[in-house]
């Protein structure tokens, strides 16, 4: 312990100290990730992703005192830059190196810095609710932009990324399916190409066009008349069907009365012998027609051979673990940067401006510069988190980066405690854990549908209120207030 204390007294060694701390945590998380059920790895990935974004919230909301309702939109910027660069660029511009996901992450971060600078410049002039208003506008307006550029940004459905494999690259999925036509030369697959190209070969529907008068009906000048319209009776059951063959209310709870098996025949059903081909014949005839039409034996078509999928899946690659380790890596790197910023000079600058901008200006700190830098850092972190989320979802779509995400980040940071990075981690855990908790509490108890459906949301809303009430300043703030109280100090939970 003494050595540790000595280490910490040297400010020059602070960075090394932080590196050691983060390194140990990183290692522990990786060990954890490799030893838990993949389900918990998937939660771990989400926690790490949220934590990455919320380290930025700690700096922006906690240290710099700027309330943002729009960091989800900044995540969207990172996610879309990640998706667009990894889908469209095979080599690094200018340098010409082989492209990979790390480059996309770097560009996502760059996008975050740029947009953070622009928004931060605007935001630095604003106070409190006006900033909230601007960022709320961002949270709604930025996802709406994707619909303006459907060709580039995929519109409402977004852009799909292929599932990455550690070995064999992005092509593994398709080769497992026995298809190579979608693979580009570098082994990447653009899943969106499926939507771009006209993959829908016209089906051979000729079998349905049997019937004497249909050719006439299809002639362009021939128009529909009332005679061509069915009436309700054409769908009716008809007299031939006996009541015993129909399900009635009496059938419930008396399953033993049912005799097995025998189906109604088509002769028993309907009145419309004039309606063209008979339903019963249809089934068998069509099967024959189809075989001729498609020209392959359905049973042995290589495209239906599903062995490849399961083989690929069984090869030991667990995607949840991969996603979690990727998310943890980003979170740890961001945590390292955040620790150094928060514990260093810049952290004191942000706090000074938050607490007293006038005094800060007197000692030579630019209040707006400080606010802009906080926005840039938080935007960078948000963009990196967005790139991580894009990889977890293998998708970027406006619905995933909506107002709900922005508000979640603020809820998380307020509940966890906004003045320390630990609060961000706690908040990230809460964001993932609380929905599980309320689902567990409000599981199906045989209540009516509309109660059961809404119970988790009701509990979630009440829990958010309860945590704010019980722990003003968030969990970390409250715990620290208790500790200080125990030591006889008094300070606001927010300081």
């Amino acid at each position: 312990m003494n050595n540790v204390k000595n280490l910490r007294t040297f400010p020059g060694n602070r960075i090394i100290w932080h590196a050691v701390i983060v390194g140990i945590v990183w290692l522990l998380l990786l060990v954890l990730n490799n030893n838990i059920d993949p389900l918990y790895s998937s939660y771990l990935a989400l926690v790490a992703m949220y934590a990455t974004a919320m380290f930025g919230m700690t700096i922006l909301v906690g240290l710099s005192g700027q309330v943002s309702l729009g960091n989800g939109a900044l995540m969207a910027v990172g996610g879309y830059v990640f998706a667009l660069t990894s889908m469209n660029w095979q080599t690094v511009p200018i340098i010409g190196w082989q492209w990979n996901a790390v480059w996309s992450m770097a560009f996502a971060g760059l996008g975050g810095i740029l947009i953070g600078g622009i928004i931060g410049g605007l935001a630095a002039r604003l106070r409190g609710p006006y900033l909230a208003g601007l960022t709320l506008g961002l949270a709604v307006g930025v996802p709406a932009i994707t619909n303006r550029f459907p060709e580039l940004l995929g519109g409402e459905n977004g852009l799909m990324l292929s599932v990455p494999y550690p070995a064999g690259g992005y092509a593994a999925l398709d080769s497992a399916l026995g298809s190579s036509s979608d693979s580009s030369s570098d082994g990447t697959v653009d899943p969106n190409s499926a939507v771009e190209e006209d993959q829908y070969a016209e089906l051979d529907l000729s079998e349905f066009e049997q019937g004497a008068d249909l050719d006439a009906d299809l002639a362009p000048e021939d128009l529909l008349t009332d005679d061509d319209l069915l009436t309700e009776e054409d769908f009716g059951v008809g007299d031939q069907l006996t009541d015993d063959d129909l399900l009635t209310e009496e059938d419930f709870g008396v399953g033993d009365q049912l005799t097995d098996g025998d189906l109604l025949t088509d002769e028993d059903f309907g009145t419309g012998t004039d309606l063209g081909i008979d339903g019963g014949d249809l089934g068998t005839d069509l099967e024959a027609d189809l075989d001729v039409g498609v020209g392959t034996d359905l049973g042995t078509d290589p495209a239906v051979d599903l062995t490849g999928i399961t083989d690929a899946f069984d090869s030991g690659f667990i995607i949840e673990r991969w996603q979690a380790s990727m998310a943890i890596a980003v979170a740890c790197l961001v945590a390292f940067a955040a620790l150094n910023l928060v514990r260093g000079r810049q952290g004191r600058v942000w706090k000074a401006v938050r607490d007293d901008p006038v005094a800060a200006a007197v000692v030579g700190i630019s209040p707006s510069g400080s606010k802009i830098s906080a926005f840039i850092v938080s935007s960078l972190f948000a963009a990196l988190a967005g790139a991580v989320l894009a990889q977890i979802l293998t998708l970027v779509a406006p619905g995933a980066f909506g107002l709900g995400l922005s508000l979640s980040l603020l809820v998380g940071i307020v509940l966890g405690g906004r003045s320390s990075l630990l609060g961000a981690i706690l908040g990230a855990l809460l964001l993932v854990w609380l929905p599980e908790l309320v689902d567990g509490l409000s599981g199906d108890r045989g209540w009516p549908e509309q109660i059961t459906n809404n119970a988790p949301n009701l509990l979630y809303g009440l829990l958010v209120v309860a945590v704010v009430l019980a722990a003003p300043g968030g969990l970390t703030g409250t715990v620290r207030a208790w500790i200080d109280k125990g030591r006889g100090k008094t300070r606001s939970p927010l300081s």
Binding site: L122, P129, Y130, A132, N453, L462, V464, V468
Partner: protein
């Protein structure tokens, strides 16, 4: 040209709806210097109450009165249970708490009334008026909504400028310590502020509903536009909220008419950003407003 007039008239009646919700946000701001994100949730909930009354009695005026009462009570409940315990120690926490209330209210409404959209029969004819040989997109009901909005903003302005209650409320919000020393019962003033805001939101909800449908989430988008309007207007300004509420309605209407409706949120964002760039405290705002 008739198109342009149509878009303007349509925008006016839509804007009145945004203006009413923006008014409620401004009232809470005036009372407690915070933004109440549960406002649309409270309005939604009381509108359901009004719908229930109207469907059982067929009396629209009674339904409106009950909604106003329920809105005031709900506002006071939210203030007492959530805002007052948190507000002084943690204003950002108070905002988050209002989100919690919003989620809970939406879920509660879903539990009680189900999630499917429900209609609300207007008390007066909602058919567009016929004039100069054509039907214009403004109905007697729209005129009722616009008049109610105008009456509310005038009434509230008078309340805040001419009555001792209103002046005390403003004093309590601006500087509770000084107000208390001057003999104002600050707590009572805060409660009044939340009650009046809740009632205003309730009136807004009941007036919106016949022109729309009501469902637990149906007012969500209103929150965004109303907040935008209130912020551009200056948050402290009743007239600003109404002016820019109607202005937002006009922008949406014109953008939807002349280009794609999907451009409307983006145009609103750009206008908001430009506005805040030029007027960081809103158009009608005072520089003295304190931060959250």
């Amino acid at each position: 040209m008739t198109n342009f007039i149509d878009y303007l008239l349509g925008g006016f009646s839509n804007g009145a709806v945004i203006a009413l919700m923006a008014l409620a946000l401004v009232l809470v701001w005036r009372s407690t210097r915070m933004v109440n994100f549960a406002q649309v949730g409270q309005a939604m909930f009381t509108t359901y109450v009004a719908l229930t009354i109207q469907q059982s009695t067929g009396n629209w005026v009674l339904a409106l009165l009950v909604a106003i009462g329920a809105g005031a009570i709900l506002g006071v409940i939210v203030f007492f249970l959530v805002i007052r315990p948190v507000k002084n120690s943690d204003s950002t926490g108070a905002i988050i708490a209002t989100f919690g209330v919003l989620i809970a209210l939406q879920a509660g409404a879903g539990m009680i009334w189900g999630g499917d959209p429900r209609g609300f029969i207007p008390p007066v004819d909602n058919a567009g008026l016929e004039f100069a040989g054509r039907i214009w997109p403004i109905s007697p009901y729209d005129i009722l909504v616009l008049s109610a909005t105008a009456a509310l903003v005038i009434g509230l302005t008078l309340l805040f400028t001419k009555t001792s209650l209103g002046l005390s409320m403003r004093a309590s919000a601006f500087n509770p310590e000084v107000a208390r020393l001057s003999g104002v019962r600050v707590n009572r003033m805060l409660i009044s502020g939340w009650a009046i805001a809740g009632a205003t939101g309730a009136i807004g909800g009941v007036l919106i509903a016949p022109a729309s449908t009501i469902s637990p989430n149906s007012f969500d988008i209103l929150l965004v536009f109303a907040f935008t309007a209130a912020v551009i207007g200056g948050l402290d300004s009743l007239i600003g909220a109404v002016t820019f509420g109607i202005g937002t309605g006009l922008v949406i209407s014109l953008v939807s008419g002349y280009s794609d409706s999907g451009n409307a949120p983006i145009v609103a964002l750009v206008l908001l950003a430009l506005n805040l760039l030029l007027k960081p405290d809103g158009v009608f705002g005072h520089h003295g407003a304190r931060s959250v």
